[in-house]
Subunit: 287 residues, 2 copies
């Protein structure tokens, strides 16, 4: 049996499952302070005989195997989690090997293995929720270089009608600061889920997300882009993004039919946890 | 003997050399209309017994092996070259296998094999000249996905003191439209090479290039960025870019010492032609 954790800003999803990607049991644990959340996570896995654990976590993370702080969560705005040694803590408590990556890299891995990215040379998974992030699988490997990508923090041009300042604690009005769930709520004083389809909020949202996708395409040239996260649950949003991309790219890029190119995750909300499970498999069996 | 072409907007560099990267003879041929330039290129290679030819060309290019127009130069503003079947023409004339990629991908390949990118997991080569482009080598392979990247055409935020409109025929004020050599010349009425080190032109230039590099880093996470091209021959420019990146990234990214991270090409002006030569080697011997 293998273990998987999807560590998110609001909840930890913990699951055990098989090496072919079948989830046997799962729990959700609220993300509070580490001292409250982590013991419950450990308790769940102690009830099961797992051979390895895969973790996809909110970041930024230290993924450098040579670093003294490998496996730590780094400069997150989430209280109590800065410099938390997540990998070390889980290894000690469970005595199994632990694979560690960002939540979006785990989701990209899940979609590449079982979902919309199956068999592709380059696929990108993006989440638009309380934060914005993206991960990529290139030639059958999760993309890592100097560190993991931080695609949620790219600069954008402002929408001419948008007067919201932005809320990113680092950059103020980067992509995440302008287009993540909390930006919508702060801009309009109401959660995105409560805004009608014809509200100007969605035009602004589509403008920022389309800009971001075009940057990703110009730089990384993915063969498919899979968009998950809470904000993307608006059924009309994907189509608005398609239209705005057409308008902004001005015929420069020859893109596939948008319905087949920018898509929802095939695995629904399970891309991340299944990806984490397969990361656990990869350390037990190799890739 | 192997053949290599670096097809640029102003000149074709043609060379023959050995499989270990030694150039034995080279010529430069001005890039005029294909009917004038290409016969001279063919003539050069006909004088030598080559086993294969590698071409790094200005783009955009069709690199899709399944496409009817594979090996064509696509929607370039360069008169006469739109839809020119470069690969087919060279194959027919020389009767050898031809490897084909963008000029910047060839340069990235050259620097990865012999230069500043040696041994790295992800290295990026960027040129800032009459146009702007970049290519990457990821895990020992030139990065290709849906197509080749077009990193010169990303959107940027305008420098607040910059009133120049931009000159990109597609996007007007994308990176290339604001920061390639012709943008400097059109903005100030004089070529960059004629502007003194303390001219405000360089602050604006560094602002745009630093923004672009930060986007590349956030999306692709390269372990090193190598910057070539005519504009980068200004000896003070690289340092200005380093400073502007510090200022813009606001402590969010932990970057290596800039002197070791954003660097000049080790191979000088030969990154592209050597990369093209090694592309020829790869089709003869495999990678």
């Amino acid at each position: 049996m293998l273990g998987a954790v999807e560590a998110g800003g609001t909840k930890y999803i913990c699951a055990v499952g098989t090496e072919d990607g079948k989830i046997m049991e799962r729990v959700q644990i609220p993300t509070e302070y580490p001292g409250k959340t982590i013991p419950k996570v450990i308790e769940f896995f102690q009830k099961h005989q797992i051979d390895a654990l895969g973790i996809g976590s909110f970041g930024p993370l230290d993924l450098n195997g040579q670093s003294d702080t490998y496996g730590y969560i780094k400069a997150t705005p989430k209280p109590g989690w800065v410099n938390f040694p997540l990998v070390e803590t889980m290894k000690k408590a469970l005595n199994v090997p632990v694979a560690f990556d960002t939540d979006v890299n785990a989701a990209a891995w899940g979609e590449f293995l079982f979902g919309a990215g199956k068999g592709l040379g380059i696929c990108l998974y993006m989440t638009v929720g309380t934060g914005i992030g993206a991960g990529a699988v290139v030639d059958g490997k999760i993309l890592h270089g100097l560190s993991h990508p931080e695609m949620g923090h790219i600069f954008l041009r402002r929408h001419p009608q948008d007067e919201f300042e932005g809320f990113c604690p680092y950059h103020v009005d980067c992509l995440e600061g302008l287009a993540a769930g909390p930006a919508i709520e702060k801009r309009w004083g109401i959660e995105g889920a409560g805004l009608p389809e014809n509200h100007p909020a969605w035009e602004i949202e589509a403008h920022y997300l389309a800009q971001a996708l075009l940057q990703y395409i110009l730089i990384l040239s993915p063969e498919k882009i899979i968009m998950g996260g809470g904000v993307m649950k608006q059924p009309h949003l994907l189509q608005r993004i398609h239209r705005e991309m057409e308008r902004l790219s001005k015929g420069f890029l020859t893109l596939p039919q948008p319905e087949n190119y920018i898509v929802s995750p095939t695995l629904g909300d399970d891309s991340g946890i299944l990806g984490a499970l397969m990361m656990a498999k990869d350390i037990v069996y190799g890739k």
